[in-house]
C-alpha cells in the first residue's frame, strides 16, 4: 500500500485524540474522512503527512517509516492543502505556484526552462494564466483555494491530502472542485480529504472513513459505510439515506435529532400502535414524525416512495411486489396487524385497482380510523367510482374521523395518549 498507518494513537498532553487507528490507502480511490467536530479528523491527516508525530504506531509511505524520512522527501511524496490560508505579505499567483516546486529546484541552482514550463502548464490547467500576476490577497476565496491546490499539484506528489477544501467554496465550485479531485484519482493520485459535508462526501468519495472520538467507526466502500445506523452512531441524528436517481449516488436527509431511547421505550410500556396506510409518497410528511410510536405501514409496493421512507425509519412494512395487486397473503397480514393497533391512519393516497384492497380491509375494521384528507376522494379515484363508494361508506361510520391538516392530525394522535 502506498500509504498506511498502523496502530496510531495520539495525545495532546493528556487528551487522547486518536486511539489505535490502522488504515490503508491505495491507488485509484478518493478517500473521505468523515466525523463530527473534534473527532480527530484533522489530527489524523496531519499525522499522515508527518507534520505531527505520534509516539505510538507508525505511518508508512511507500514502505518507509515517515518518522525516518527527510522533510523534503515527504514533500515529494505527499502534498497537503491545509484548512485555512491567509498571508501577511502579498505574493503573486505565479510566485505561489512556484513555491510548490521547492523540492524540485536546488537551493543554489537557477530555475530551468523545464521548470518554467511545468509552472506554466499548471497555471493553464487551473485557468490561472490570466491571473498569474495578480496578488493572492486580491483574489476571491474560490480563486485563492484554486491557487493553493495548484501549488500542491505543482509538488507532483503521488498522494494529496486536503483538509476541508470545500468549506469556503460556493456550491458550483464545490462540485467543480470535487470533480477535479476525481480526475486526479483517475490519473493515479491517491486523494484523501477531510470533509464535513456528508452529502458531498458520499457523492464523490468512493471510500469513506468514519471517525468518532478518535476511533475508526467504519472504513470501506461508501455504500457499506453511509447507512442510517452508522450516521446515527457518529452524529447522533436520524437520517434517511437515499439514492440520487440522476447520479445513482447516495445522499442523506437528516430529519430529527434522536431522543434518548429511554424516553421512547424503557419507561413506557403503553406505546400506542399505529398503522398507516400509505403509498405514492402521500405519507412522507406523516411517517417521520411518528417515531415515538410503534408503527406499521402497508400495504405498499416495494420501491414506492413511502416504502423506502418507512424502510429507512425501520417501521414494520407489509409490502407487495412493484406494480402488482395486493395478494391474499398480504391482506391476511394486514388484517392480523389491524387487530392489535390503537389507531389506523389512511393517508391521502390515490386508489387504483392494485391497492383498492386496503380500503376494503379498512371498511371491515372496527378500530379507530383517521382519514387524512387533502383532496376529495373523487380526485384520487382511478377505479371508476368503486373506491369513492367504499370511502364514503367508511367516512360515515362512527369509528372514523376525517382530518384535513397535519397539525390537527398530530394533535389528535397526541390526545390519544391521555
Amino acid at each position: 500500500m502506498p500509504i498506511e498507518c498502523e496502530n496510531i494513537s495520539f495525545k495532546y498532553w493528556t487528551k487522547l485524540v486518536l486511539d489505535d487507528i490502522s488504515l490503508q490507502f491505495g491507488k485509484g480511490h478518493l478517500y473521505g474522512i468523515l466525523g463530527p467536530n473534534g473527532s480527530g479528523k484533522t489530527t489524523l491527516l496531519r499525522i499522515l503527512c508527518g507534520i505531527l508525530k505520534s509516539k505510538y504506531g507508525q505511518v508508512v509511505v511507500d514502505e518507509f517509516n515517515i518518522k525516518k524520512m527527510k522533510i523534503s522527501d515527504i514533500a515529494k511524496k505527499i502534498a497537503v492543502v491545509e484548512q485555512s490560508t491567509s498571508i501577511d505579505f502579498d505574493y503573486s499567483v505565479k510566485e505561489i505556484v512556484r513555491m510548490g516546486r521547492y523540492t524540485h529546484v536546488g537551493r543554489f541552482s537557477k530555475e530551468t526552462s523545464e521548470e518554467k514550463k511545468i509552472i506554466n502548464e499548471i497555471l493553464e490547467q487551473f485557468n490561472l494564466s490570466e491571473l498569474e500576476n495578480r496578488g493572492f490577497n486580491t483574489l476571491s476565496g474560490g480563486e485563492q483555494q484554486k491557487v493553493i491546490i495548484a501549488r500542491a499539484i505543482a509538488q507532483q506528489s503521488k498522494i494529496l491530502l486536503l483538509d476541508e477544501p470545500t468549506t469556503h467554496l460556493d456550491l458550483n465550485y464545490q462540485i467543480e472542485f470535487m470533480e477535479r479531485l476525481r480526475k486526479y484519482v483517475n490519473d493515479g493520485i491517491i486523494v484523501i480529504i477531510v470533509i464535513h459535508d456528508v452529502n458531498l462526501a458520499t457523492q464523490f468519495c468512493d471510500k469513506i472513513v468514519l471517525l468518532k472520538e478518535g476511533c475508526v467507526i467504519a472504513f470501506g466502500n461508501r455504500e457499506e459505510i453511509i447507512t442510517r445506523k452508522n450516521l446515527k452512531l457518529i452524529y447522533n441524528i436520524d437520517v434517511i439515506v437515499r439514492k440520487n436517481p440522476f447520479s445513482n449516488s447516495l445522499y442523506i436527509i437528516p430529519h430529527k435529532i434522536e431522543f434518548p431511547t429511554s424516553m421512547r421505550y424503557n419507561n413506557n410500556f403503553n406505546i400506542k400502535k399505529i398503522h398507516v396506510v400509505a403509498g405514492g409518497g402521500a405519507a412522507s410528511k406523516i411517517l417521520p414524525k411518528l417515531n415515538d410510536y410503534d408503527i406499521s405501514v402497508g400495504i405498499v409496493n416495494v420501491l414506492d416512495d413511502d416504502y423506502i421512507l418507512a424502510n429507512e425509519l425501520n417501521y414494520r412494512i407489509i409490502s407487495e411486489a412493484p406494480f402488482s395487486p395486493i395478494t391474499n397473503n398480504s391482506s391476511e397480514a394486514l388484517k392480523t396487524i389491524l387487530k392489535n393497533v390503537d389507531l389506523i391512519i389512511l393517508a391521502n393516497i390515490p386508489f387504483g385497482i392494485t391497492n383498492l384492497k386496503n380500503l376494503e380491509i379498512l371498511n371491515d375494521s372496527n378500530k379507530k380510523i383517521v382519514l387524512f384528507e387533502r383532496n376529495p376522494i373523487e380526485d384520487r379515484d382511478f377505479t371508476e367510482g368503486i373506491a369513492t363508494t367504499i370511502y364514503n361508506n367508511l367516512k360515515s361510520k362512527s369509528n372514523v374521523k376525517t382530518i384535513n391538516n397535519l397539525h390537527d392530525l398530530f394533535n389528535f394522535i397526541e390526545s390519544m395518549e391521555e
Binding site: R46, C49, G50, I51, L52, K53, K70, I71, S72, I74, A75, K76, I78, A79, V80, E82, T85, I87, D88, F89, D90, Y91, S92, E95, M99, G100, Y102, T103, R107, F108, R151, Q155
Partner: protein, 336 residues
C-alpha cells in the same frame, strides 16, 4: 536591470558623499586618490592633507554607513519574513536594547576602554547574544520554535533592558551625553578595521539569506504548510534567526542602534519589487546602504561642525517619505 541602476546610483552617491564636508575637495581629486590607491597612479594632483581626509576620515565612514545600512536592511527582511509581520524590525527581539544596556553599564562602571577600542563593540555584541540565547531558549516548544513566544519574550526583554538603561542614565550625569550618542547611533570615528569586521559579517550574511529567500517566501503560509511543501522549517528558522542576530548585533556593536532602517527599507522595497525575498534581500541591502549614506551626510554637515546622531535622521527622513509612499499606493488603489 533596476538593481544595476541603483548600484550605479549608490556608487555615484559614495563619490558625492566623499566630496561633502567642512573641507571642499573636488570630484576629480577624489577619483584620482581612489584610483591611485587601487593601483592606477595618474599623477599626484592633491595635497597630502586631502588624501588623509579622504582615505582615513571620509572613505571608511561613508563605506561604513553603506555596509551597516545594508546589514540593517537585510536583517529587516529576515525579521519581517521570520515573524510573518510587516511591522517588525530586527530590534524587536531586544538586540539593540540589550546591547545599549550593556554599553551603558560598561561606561558607567568605567570599563569603557578596558580592552582598548574594541571594548564597546565587544560588550554590546555579548549582551545582544546573551539576550537572544535566553529568548531563543524560551521560545522552544514541543515541536517548534514558537515565533509568538520569541516576539513576546523579545518585547519584554526590550522593555526590561530599556528600563535598566534609563535607570543607569538617570544616575550618571557626567556620562549621559556619551551614552546617549551611542544609543542613538552614529558613524563617528569609523576606522578601516571597524569597516573590515562589519564587511566580513555583512557579505556572507547577505548571501546566505539570499539563498534562504525561498524558504522565507514559503514560510509566509505558516510552519505546517511550509513543511508540507518540503521546507525544513525549524532548521531554516534557526539559520535565518542566527544570520539576523549576527547582522544586527554587529551593526549595533559598531554604530549603536540606528533605528528605522530595518523597518522601512524592506517595506519600501516590497512596494517597489514585490514580496519575493530573493529580490528583497539584494534590493534592501542596496537601499539600506543608500539611506544610511545620505542620512549620515546630513548628520555630519547640517549644523557642521556639530554632529547629529544619524539615527535621528533616518527617522526624520524615513517617516514622512514612507507616509508619502503609502498615500501614493492608496491613490492608485493598490492598498485598500
Amino acid at each position: 536591470m533596476v538593481l544595476i541602476f541603483i548600484f550605479f546610483f549608490l556608487f555615484l552617491s559614495i563619490i558625492i558623499a566623499l566630496s561633502i564636508g567642512s573641507v571642499q575637495i573636488e570630484f576629480f581629486k577624489i577619483i584620482a586618490i581612489i584610483l591611485d590607491q587601487i593601483g592606477f597612479p595618474i599623477g599626484t594632483v592633491w595635497t597630502s592633507g586631502e588624501q588623509v581626509i579622504i582615505l582615513e576620515l571620509r572613505l571608511p565612514r561613508v563605506l561604513m554607513s553603506v555596509v551597516v545600512g545594508a546589514m540593517l536592511g537585510v536583517a529587516g527582511v529576515a525579521a519581517q519574513g521570520l515573524f510573518r509581520n510587516p511591522i517588525v524590525d530586527p530590534y524587536i527581539i531586544g538586540i539593540a536594547s540589550a546591547a545599549g544596556c550593556g554599553v551603558s553599564l560598561c561606561v558607567v562602571l568605567g570599563f569603557a576602554s578596558l580592552l582598548g577600542l574594541f571594548t564597546i563593540p565587544l560588550v554590546s555584541f555579548l549582551f545582544a547574544m546573551l539576550a537572544i540565547i535566553v529568548i531563543y531558549k524560551l521560545s522552544q516548544t514541543r515541536y517548534r520554535m514558537s515565533m509568538t513566544v520569541l516576539l513576546l519574550a523579545g518585547i519584554a526583554f526590550s522593555f526590561f533592558f530599556s528600563a535598566f538603561t534609563s535607570f543607569i542614565l538617570y544616575f550618571s550625569e557626567d556620562k549621559v551625553h556619551y551614552i546617549l550618542s551611542y544609543l542613538m547611533g552614529s558613524f563617528w570615528g569609523a576606522s578601516w578595521v571597524d569597516l573590515y569586521i562589519v564587511f566580513i559579517v555583512m557579505v556572507p550574511g547577505t548571501i546566505i539569506l539570499y539563498f534562504y529567500g525561498r524558504d522565507l517566501n514559503i514560510m509566509v503560509f505558516g510552519d505546517d504548510n511550509a513543511q508540507s511543501i518540503g521546507v525544513n522549517v525549524e532548521q531554516s528558522k534557526r539559520i535565518i534567526l542566527i544570520i539576523m542576530t549576527l547582522l544586527t548585533s554587529t551593526a549595533v556593536a559598531f554604530c549603536g542602534s540606528i533605528g528605522f532602517v530595518g523597518l522601512i527599507i524592506p517595506h519600501f522595497m516590497r512596494l517597489l519589487v514585490g514580496s519575493d525575498n530573493r529580490k528583497l534581500v539584494p534590493y534592501s541591502a542596496v537601499g539600506g546602504g543608500l539611506l544610511l549614506l545620505w542620512a549620515d551626510v546630513l548628520a555630519r554637515n547640517l549644523i557642521s561642525p556639530l554632529e547629529i546622531p544619524v539615527g535621528i535622521f533616518t527617522a526624520l527622513l524615513g517617516g514622512p517619505f514612507f507616509v508619502y509612499l503609502v498615500v501614493q499606493k492608496k491613490k492608485s488603489g493598490e492598498l485598500m
